[in-house]
């Protein structure tokens, strides 16, 4: 994990996760602490009756503690400007980031998707969120 991006007197408020993707496959390439305010959480309601793409932080028991609604960051189609329309990407690949509150404890971060054709929301990717290392007393 990259050291804090900016040192300061206060604990960083957010963590930026940097992902790469190839088609539907996603993997984490970096995490870094950032001194800023993370985007607000969407309501932590049941996702069962909804479609979309979400980034969710969960506590050690798997309960959601923060959720953001995202447009599918794997960017399966390009938006053609002018009279707006979508064209599928032949080989979607690239990078995206999410900014979430820095957590003090263990848990996980999940990317979740439910397309209209899916029966239920499913985790596209999860990564364990470890508590920050405890620095030894001087």
């Amino acid at each position: 994990m990259t050291p804090p991006a900016s040192a300061g007197h206060h604990a960083p408020g957010a963590e930026r996760y940097i992902f790469r993707y190839l088609g539907d496959e996603v993997w984490l390439v970096d995490r870094r602490l950032v001194h800023t305010v993370a985007p607000l959480s969407a309501p932590l309601v049941e996702l069962a009756g909804r479609s979309g793409f979400w980034c969710e932080l969960r506590d050690a028991e798997g309960r959601p503690v923060h959720r953001q609604v995202l447009r599918d960051p794997r960017h399966p189609a390009e938006e053609v400007p002018g009279r707006l329309r979508q064209v599928p990407r032949a080989a979607p690949a690239g990078v995206f980031t999410v900014l979430v509150p820095a957590t003090g404890g263990a848990g996980e971060l999940a990317l979740i998707q439910r397309r209209a054709t899916d029966e239920a929301p499913r985790d596209v990717f999860t990564v364990r969120v470890e508590p920050p290392p405890v620095e030894p007393a001087p």
């Binding site: 900016s6 940097i18 870094r32 800023t36 985007p39 189609a77 979508q86 439910r114």
Partner: protein, 292 residues
């Protein structure tokens, strides 16, 4: 991108509203500007700032927004312009060496102007770790742009609108409000009726009663406000309600029927239109987190 293609020349905070940790931080970087052309880039960023802060709700959110100009000098000027493109158009064949590899025809359409997103995010993160939105302004007068993790736009006078629309997706999770995936002038099978379930985006709904944004619907506004009598085609009729009316207008989220948008028009539906009241509410909600 390679070191021979250019270099980061410097960072200037052109709108400084406060500490980066407590502000919505916008980074505007450029591609296809040689070192001699960086003053031109600075002028264009200033113009973009005017456009940005003229667009409600950013006119009132300005005290919470920083804008950082990240100067990047490329070896050559302009953007790749392939001779041929899948859409049948023809370009100049130019292939300048630029830092972020900007080029047209990114997805087979001449207007799709794309960059090396990973390189852009790396440069932005190295200089403004707390960035909230990154724009890339490419030094070409031809109309073009694209979205995704960063918003790309050319120097064409109308292209800044692309950037503002794409920011709606990238920074605020807004859905597209237009009714046809492939466009209203092209075959678009499978998009007559939204299949559900309810899209979890703030500005589209399958609910004709528009409970998602009910607080913004004036008493007496009919719900739904406008329905599409023939969802096999786009509804091109004028609005039955005065401009600015919030209600439920059928045709949104790439479907001509069964999905509703809050107003007749919005920047998430048509480039050049202002953000509708519901989109503005979501933008305000997110940016105002820096005010507490």
């Amino acid at each position: 991108m390679s070191a021979a293609d250019g270099t980061v020349a410097g960072l200037t905070t052109v709108v400084d509203s406060g500490p980066s940790s407590r502000r919505f931080d916008v980074v505007v970087t450029g591609d296809g500007y040689t070192s001699d052309e960086l003053p031109l880039f600075a002028e264009r960023v200033a113009e973009f700032c005017e456009r940005f802060f003229d667009a409600p709700p950013f006119d009132v959110l300005r005290p919470l927004v920083n804008v950082h100009r990240l100067d990047v000098a490329s070896a050559d000027s302009g953007a790749d312009d392939p001779l041929t493109c899948e859409d049948g158009s023809r370009g100049s064949g130019a292939a300048p060496r630029t830092f972020f590899d900007a080029g047209f025809c990114g997805g087979g359409s001449r207007r799709l102007l794309t960059v090396d997103t990973a390189a852009v995010l790396a440069a932005a993160g190295a200089h403004v770790p707390a960035y909230d939105m990154v724009f890339v302004q490419v030094n070409t007068a031809s109309y073009g742009g694209s979205g995704g993790a960063v918003a790309v736009f050319s120097a064409h006078p109308d292209a800044a609108e692309i950037a503002l629309h794409e920011m709606g997706h990238t920074a605020f999770g807004l859905a597209d409000e237009y009714p046809a995936k492939a466009g209203c002038d092209r075959p678009d099978p499978g998009h007559d009726h939204h299949p559900g379930p309810e899209p979890d985006y703030p500005n589209v709904t399958l609910d004709p009663a528009a409970r998602k944004w009910a607080e913004l619907v004036a008493a007496g506004t009919p719900l739904p406000t406008m329905t599409n009598p023939d969802p096999s085609r786009c509804d091109r009729r004028p609005s039955p309600a005065p401009p600015g009316t919030v209600g439920a207008f059928e045709g949104a989220d790439y479907h001509r029927g069964g999905a509703y948008r809050p107003e007749y028009d919005c920047r998430m539906r048509t480039l050049g239109a202002p953000f509708c009241a519901v989109c503005q509410r979501e933008i305000r909600r997110q940016v105002l987190r820096y005010a507490t």
